[in-house]
């Protein structure tokens, strides 16, 4: 359908409203971050982002994100696959559980792990005797990040796999292809863009996670501070240059992710056009 062209006033009102909204809620704060980060000069800014603790926090964020993406890619594909390709009891329950992380508050997610692996848990003595530290350590942060980002990949894959149906897989299986061949040759090309898109969303969410991670981190300087936590600490310590410099790092990461997302959407829809 052709977009309406002759409703001038309405069009401009809407465009203005959107532009104002975006400026006030997005561009202004972003500009403010940059401005504040640079207020004490470029040198102070560079010093702040090359600060040992900032780098450590950034690295931990990247680590947690990579873990979350890796784990959730595997489980996301597995979950989406079994939910769409097989009929079994309890399908609804699994499907609902996948959404759990986005429906409960991240703080609660953090508390769940705190209770499961913390000192008061019956598991704690065993973990302790094996010398495994989860709470107030990196594994806890990774766990929390995985938990909150769990649905992103499988939710992207589910509609695509549902739409595809099982015919192509059945055809391949009838010709004697094994499960792995079928996945690689038939299913994967189909879900590739959705999967990458899910990965992008998952990455974005993992990088920004604050709540659940905050509960489990313990805020050990240079050890269990992710970027968002570190920013909060700096801010509360009145180190505005540091806080905003670290924020600008996150913003840069986010912009990279956004660009990736745009590119993926383009590529994905182009390919869909050809192969529909």
């Amino acid at each position: 359908m052709e977009p309406q062209t002759n409703s001038g006033p309405l069009k401009w009102t809407l465009i203005t409203a959107s532009a104002v909204f975006l400026s006030v809620f997005l561009l202004l704060p972003l500009a403010y971050i940059v401005a504040t980060a640079l207020r004490q000069g470029m040198d102070a800014y560079l010093a702040a982002i090359t600060d040992k603790y900032t780098c450590k926090a950034a690295w931990l964020t990247i680590q947690a994100t990579l873990w979350a993406v890796a784990v959730n890619t595997v489980f996301g594909i597995a979950a989406a696959w079994c939910l769409t390709k097989f009929a079994f009891r309890g399908k609804k329950i699994i499907s609902t559980c996948i959404d759990l992380p986005v429906t409960v508050s991240p703080i609660i997610a953090g508390l769940i792990y705190l209770l499961t692996f913390g000192r008061q848990s019956f598991l704690y003595p065993y973990l302790d005797s094996w010398n495994i530290k989860i709470i107030f350590a990196v594994p806890g942060i990774v766990l929390a990040t995985i938990f909150v980002t769990f649905p992103f990949i499988s939710r992207e894959l589910l509609p695509v796999l549902t739409a595809q149906g099982t015919d192509e897989e059945e055809a391949a299986a009838l010709m004697g292809a094994g499960a792995f061949t079928i996945f690689r040759k038939v299913t994967l090309p189909h879900i590739k863009w959705a999967l990458l898109y899910g990965v992008v969303l998952c990455t974005a969410r993992a990088m920004g996670e604050f709540g659940a991670v905050s509960v489990l981190s313990g805020h050990l300087w240079g050890k269990t501070n992710t970027l968002p936590l570190y920013i909060e600490l700096l801010y509360q310590g009145y180190d505005f240059t540091g806080a905003f410099a670290a924020s600008s790092l996150l913003v840069v990461m986010a912009i990279i992710i956004l660009a990736l997302r745009l590119w993926l959407e383009r590529r994905g829809s182009k390919e869909l056009d050809i192969r529909k």
Partner: protein, 357 residues
Amino acid sequence: MNEHAAYVELRNINKHFKDFHATRDVNIAIPRGQLAALLGPSGSGKTTILRMIAGLEQPDSGEILIGGRVVNNVPGSERGIGFVFQNYALFRYMTVFDNIAFGLRVKKAPETAIRERVTELLGLIGCSGLENRYPSQLSGGQRQRVAFARALAPNPQILLLDEPFAAIDAKVRLELRTWLREMITRLHITSIFVTHDQDEAIEVADEIIVTNKGRVEQTGSPQELYSHPSTPFVARFIGNSIPVKDYTRFRYFERFGPQTEAVLRPEFIGIFKKGEKLQYASSAEEGVVEDIIFRGSSLEIRVRLHDNLLSAIRSVNDPAIHVGEKVDVFIYRLFIIDGGRVTLAHNQSLKKESVVI
């Protein structure tokens, strides 16, 4: 039936989906090299039967035999089956070449042999030059042919086709089914295809298996089904059947059993203009023409007789008949539905006059 002649055989097959009894005591035997059609209304269990033969579904009870061997526990990929899916299920992210080559690649055939076979099949289906296209870049008919080639590539013993022409427009469909018939005869491959289009089944198949509500109603050649339907369902389903509540109201049809239901077909009915020469003029009855439908090569005349609206075919060369005209209607024969059985009854006057002559 000769047991050893059957190449694909189903014995007392039953299948449930949860509480739903989708296949009931099905017995089928198809000799080697035959082309059989599974014909039945939507939801009658045709696809389910086909999928069980292919090993895509497991029957709850009964045996499936291929070449005399019970294959219930043999995986579908080892049954020597090529399957053409209802919507083709071509691999949409692979080219035509890769689609056809898939089965051979899985079997680790040498690449030169694969190239040779694919090229041969592309020639066979008349799609040479299309090997680098994706399925979305093909016409419906071409997709259908590629699906056919893909199923044939690994040299299966049996070809199963689920509504192979359903998604194709009428004209191409006619061409394709003649083409498919020729292909299958040439390759001499035992084939079963599903359809709910009786014209398709009658034209293409050696043998038709009529399914209804999960049961096999009747198995036989198109002629047999046409002239000797063994169940009321088949009598009603095959041909353009016209249901009649009380056949005893027609002259020269004697009461046969307790029930009075019957099924007529257009070719059982003759319609004649008043005064037109008619051998059995004295035995004809008068009806009123209600509608005339132009069918291209013929006319369908709808005529009312004893509260029944009957359809008959008339040649465009016969003297013209008009709506509202009173005409002579002669019914040559009809199928009497008598409980679960069907009996063919002839117009008694035919017998009398032939005796006289």
